[in-house]
Subunit: 352 residues, 2 copies
């Protein structure tokens, strides 16, 4: 029986609370499937680690992670550490070092949940965001000029490579082929006149390999209105790092909120470990209260099972989540219920 070694990084705030439920569900799913074993190593890399060591993870953190089959992350960020420090020393280096160039974020209205959109139902809300995850606007190139003077300024340079665009575009195009055959590309070629026309051009050059996939380009401002007004027209949304970040939160909002939005940071070639984490952050305001919704984390865990080669157990976890949601009794506060984080985790295990 194959054993998958998973690095668990619970992180900060509600991260540890939701990850605990995720691990519980994944263990139950593995036992039930009886085809593989999961071994979890818990790594205490977070903002309190930073306060003690002056860094978010050990100097050889990336080397340690490299030996695992998967990384399961809660959330990172605490008011005591500037956000750009915590994420640029933990999440972002992991995404970049392991060439997790696809950030895959399904936006699907689960059975039992109501969309905040008045006229939309489950059949209107089933799309997926493919976010470029290693370059683009999230560059570390920039700085300040003339500090302390009236002409002080800060600059930052976005970098888009043919290499980086092609690989994520091909992923999105082949994903669309296995779905409803449509890719909506987020661009802003009118305003950002150097990088975005290039992004469009490289994607156009890839699409010829996928003549059966229908590709439309939308300026990101107009596309964001489609998320609200006509989400039923969306299938696969292909976006840059920054636009994908914004659009995936918006996608989460229209299908019930961040409490139920999962994500995978994927290296499709499986040369390096992929990382699975809810779209939500560490939510310091509700941390420690045991009321955070663990569904996003549990679903992210199911995406990890699928990536590890176990689509059936993954689908069963999602079915169990849907059953719990549809029964409507064990809902956390964000969904209008009163259940605790742990009660939701237990209910999903029972539904399995």
């Amino acid at each position: 029986m194959r054993t998958h070694r998973i690095a668990v990084i619970p992180g900060d705030g509600i991260g540890p609370e939701v990850v605990r439920e995720g691990v519980k569900v994944l263990e139950a799913a593995a036992v039930r499937a009886g085809m593989f074993r999961l071994e979890f190593d818990w790594l205490p890399w977070n903002c309190s680690y930073y306060r003690r060591h002056g860094r978010m993870m050990p100097a050889d953190g990336i080397e340690q992670l490299r030996t695992y089959d998967g990384i399961y992350l809660g959330a990172v960020g605490d008011p005591s550490v500037p956000d750009h420090v915590s994420v640029w020393q933990l999440i972002l280096p992991i995404r970049k070092a392991f060439q997790q160039y696809v950030n895959l974020r399904p936006a699907k209205l689960l059975a039992g949940l109501e969309s905040p959109l008045r006229h939309k139902e489950a059949r209107d809300l089933d799309f997926v965001i493919v976010r470029e995850n290693t370059e683009g606007e999230y560059s570390d190139i920039g700085g300040r000029l003339h500090p302390g003077t009236p002409v002080e300024m800060a600059v930052q340079t976005s970098v888009f490579t043919r290499y980086g665009i092609e690989r994520v575009a091909r992923y999105a195009l082949s994903l669309a082929r296995r779905r409803r055959g449509h890719v909506a590309v987020a661009t802003k070629s009118n305003g950002l006149a150097h990088t975005m026309p290039y992004w469009d051009e490289v994607i156009r050059s890839c699409r010829v390999e996928f003549p059966d996939v229908d590709v439309s380009f939308y300026h990101v401002d107009a596309l964001s209105t489609l998320f609200v007004l006509r989400p039923e027209t969306l299938d696969v949304v292909l976006a840059t790092n920054l636009f994908g970040d914004i659009l995936s939160d918006l996608g989460a909002a229209v299908v019930g909120g961040l409490g139920v939005a999962p994500a995978g940071n994927i290296n499709p070639e499986k040369r390096f470990p992929s990382m699975f984490e809810p779209v939500h952050g560490s939510a310091p305001d509700i941390a420690g209260k045991g009321i955070a919704n663990p569904i996003a984390a549990i679903w992210s865990g199911a995406m990890m099972l699928e990536h590890l080669g176990h689509p059936e157990p993954a689908a069963e976890v999602v079915r169990a989540i849907e059953q719990v949601l549809a029964e409507g009794r064990v809902w956390t506060r964000d969904l209008g219920g009163t259940a605790s984080t742990e009660e939701v985790g237990d209910a999903v295990v029972r539904a399995l």
Copy 2:
């Protein structure tokens, strides 16, 4: 009696159709008010001008515009000209040359309209976006490297100056003082670790001058979910050029769509003419059919009247729009009706 000279740039697509109704309403409002005269000069600067002259406006276009009291624009863009050419030669140079550093975009659910958000009504949807309009991500600094090779790339540099941030921040903070006293700042200081922490820092340094205004910082991804899930918490939203572009379309979507979303590109010191234009684009797909909604253009015209020092006539135009919408008989197709562009303009004139 004072005469205001207005440069009208109808532009492309539905631009001329909606601007015609706007001018009609503004003329009626001026006659009714009897306190000022409006003189309109029509400038044929658009994509067909480009096809004839190889440029979107004459070489001295900015100099010509400088002599006007206001600029009234329809929309620019046609499939025959790359978007980044048309806007970088017309709208964007006007915004920058005339230091129209505030792009003011109200998101308000008008009487008679229903929000696409299930549980939200008019009292939940009344906020305004203050978008920085002259710098930031919309820079012309960038280019390509190694074209034609596998390591080809495109780069683009965002520039944020203390000067540029302070002036728009002060505008937003004083606007909040005249509204409900709250500013939500869109940032992304965790991901864009050079420019966005600087943006936050300069805004923090301005807020001390406005101790009575409450300021919250949100990452733009999280903020976009508030637009859908808790818009009632928003009053003034302060955003960079790019984030303001996205958020204002999203704001338009939650209050009934781009057909009813106005904008002003404002030079608050009135040293230079300001420009008023609907948020929507040229919509080539419905151009020439006479079915575009002119409300956004008419309302933008009302914002121009207010800027020219006529708040009462401006408010009357908005009241007339609301009356027409509330009656529900003369609605264009985007709102679910069958009225033509012209019929809506006529109805607003009658309601005046």
